[in-house]
Symmetry: C2
Subunit: 334 residues, 2 copies
Amino acid sequence: MASIKEVARAAGVSTATVSRVLANSPHVRPALRERVLKAIKELEYRPNLIARSLRAQQTTTIGLIVSDIRNPFFTAISRAVEDSAYEEGYSLIVCNTDEDPKKESIYLNVMRDANVAGVILSPTGPTAAGLRELETGFAVVVIDRSIPDADVDMVLLDNVDSAYRLTRHLLENGYRRIAAICGERSTTGRERCTGYEQALRAYGLLPSAELVRFVPPQIEAGYAAALRLLELPEPPEALLTTNSLLAAGALEAIHERGLRIPDDVALVTFDETTWASLVQPPITLIEQPTYEIGKTATELLLQRVAEPERATRRVILKGRLLVRGSSAPRVHCG
Amino acid sequence: MASIKEVARAAGVSTATVSRVLANSPHVRPALRERVLKAIKELEYRPNLIARSLRAQQTTTIGLIVSDIRNPFFTAISRAVEDSAYEEGYSLIVCNTDEDPKKESIYLNVMRDANVAGVILSPTGPTAAGLRELETGFAVVVIDRSIPDADVDMVLLDNVDSAYRLTRHLLENGYRRIAAICGERSTTGRERCTGYEQALRAYGLLPSAELVRFVPPQIEAGYAAALRLLELPEPPEALLTTNSLLAAGALEAIHERGLRIPDDVALVTFDETTWASLVQPPITLIEQPTYEIGKTATELLLQRVAEPERATRRVILKGRLLVRGSSAPRVHCG
DNA sequence: TTGAAAGCGCTAACAG
DNA sequence: CTGTTAGCGCTTTCAA
């Protein structure tokens, strides 16, 4: 717990010189530098980051606010962000909003109080208030969900196109009556729904309101929505869900109804998970480049920290379609 | 970004008085208190936590160092810790060691540099060095894995007994040749192995070295170990794995070999996950009280922060056996 | 090239 | 009950 003062005394120099050595300032005589370095080593000195932060009015901590850490997508993101952040000497504070705007706003304040350098955020629903907050504080990068009209750095998936390709794959395999269970209150769910509808139209099909459900992006909601769809007088031949939690719920419903995949109903979704390839049949899905998303977001954030006035950018990454058994070509039996 | 000085000026008092109001000190005249409160509100003043930390030589941040955030067990733990920490006004820094002692020691230093109040840690392998570190810094609570002989607060599962019950359940259902795939380099894997062996002995069976594998607690290792076990001249009738990652790998191997569960081979494990009840048949397992573990660990930590000299305690929680299809009573066919 | 000194925002001892 | 003051550990003018 030696302080810079003790190092200075041990090396017979002023604290300013120690500070200069620490900062790798070129204006220090080599001899002095050596002495200081030696003292640092002998005293096992480590700079007090708190003091440094107070002085600099800025920490080397960044925040990550996700909407649901139980969602493997966000777990993967946090891995990536953590990796990249620590590589750059930053620590990571992680928070979880449970899709609750109130919690989001609380955590945004926590971040402000913690004097973080910046925040990576998957905004929950109406982040208008939050956004205003953002503008008066730290650097921000938005991930996963876009905030329309906001002048903020973003890293997003090409949601419309991914959903289009996923739906087209079903269509190509002979499925026609395709239902979609979409996460509500986020641009992501809406965009994926758009891609789904575009694909249907491209195949001359009319999207049916009955087959599109917007629900909270969680297992229970996916389960309930799927159950209701499967109980329709004319049930869908395929189910598309917009995240892995919804897919898990849908799968549960399919099991409960005693249906077989894909013979009775196909299932496709977004996001690779441990289980998607473990269930029988394995699930066809759009894999997001999670690591790259997290890494890119961190890079954008630290760039903005370094240069607050640079133009904002919006990075769109492509999803990858992984075709597996849950959407095998349809065997017509009607 | 108003500071305490500006509040003091606005209220026509000294910064000390503002500080006292902030600390809820009783020695402030109500009239003054009112004025200060008003100024605080008007200026939207929020205390600078950095300055406070520098002064107090201690932050209101705690660290969580887990060995693998991809392990849903640790994801659940981090949820719980985060919840409890924020309830008490603490922030959470999360790190991930990937079971790498080097990363662990780096992150322990990060924690020290960040002046955290304390750290919750699932120690990786030989944390002797780490432990010494610990003793000279912040409060520590160890979770999931015990450090023998260490005088540290711990929150653990009753591993031996849980594994005993899990194994006994298999034995009661008619399985005899039971293999175990255990996480290596942690007391957890070893203790669970002990419970497994005790159960075998209680049933008059001799544990066979051939059927016990210690491997890195990850999917790939679980896959490889299971594959080798299933290729044995006399393959096991049941597989027990000591965490969900190993189970996922084992399941993959079972699928690849085209075996049916439980007819060809049963599978039981530790840790509830999304997928364990989603695969067919669902997996029998010991569920850990993850939320309680995280909550208890946080409580112990904050208690120790408040009272560093209190006697250390070791909290042992019970696992819950969830019986599902993957270990259904054995149909003898020999 | 180096050092003295001020000050980041806060709290707590001490005086009054 | 309230204000003055010193100082937490660091960086950065400003002078020398």
